[in-house]
Point group: C2
Chain length 133, copies 2
Amino acid sequence: MQEIELLKEYKLKVTPQRIAIVELLKEHGHLSIAKMYELMKRRFPTVSLATIYKNIHAMMQSNFINEVKIVGQDSRYELTQPSHSHVVCKECGEIVDVDVSGSSLLKEVSQKTQFKLESSSFVFYGICRECLD
Amino acid sequence: MQEIELLKEYKLKVTPQRIAIVELLKEHGHLSIAKMYELMKRRFPTVSLATIYKNIHAMMQSNFINEVKIVGQDSRYELTQPSHSHVVCKECGEIVDVDVSGSSLLKEVSQKTQFKLESSSFVFYGICRECLD
DNA sequence: CTAAATGCAAAGCATTTGCAAATAT
DNA sequence: ATATTTGCAAATGCTTTGCATTTAG
């Protein structure tokens, strides 16, 4: 199973709960804690919220997943992916990934601020195609 | 006093505590709840955290201030300004404003995603000049 | 004079912690 | 065999709420 290999690469012990988390993230893309808990309970009715939190924590430590902070909503978590941005629908809450060429911005910002930049987060807010109708 | 006019423009009742919040935000740029509370107590030793929260809330409602969400740190609040981005130092936590031309990105994203975009948030993470030495 | 803001204490929630039992390597 | 993870319950901590009093318009 691909999930198992993935976890091992990041030196995370492979447990059924962790495999499920990876599967859910692959399937849904971005999940809040509450949503992940809800989905997890369908597979492991006795799963504990504490387990979700502990795993999110461990997975963030190892950079296996990362947090997307969104204004007006709970944070979402996603499998770590090559640099990409997020587009949020203010109506239905849906989050979409989008690849944008932010490298010129990076350069511009580091020149203007003299910072040594390591990462960046672009979030776009609006209304999605479906909600526009 | 300029602070009073500002508050009135946004239809916020002018109280000494609110004037102080505006002054602090003008002086410091971006403040967390905790930091704002700490600074406020120097002027109003009896100020309540609840008052801070209530005012932050009211000021966000009227779009007088807005929230900047940052990975790994408490949210900061700033006076609403024309579109600009934030650069965060992972070492000392300092936040710097920077003007970047994101309009071409906006266009690119709305074309790719078919969203009707309303706003965007760019946050850059790195190490500031001082912390690099 | 009326409606809103303040400060305090209590209530609410999300997140974390401690610990015994179960599980992974 | 050992260290880690799990699930539960308790504890923590941030944020909100209710209410009497004060203040702004």
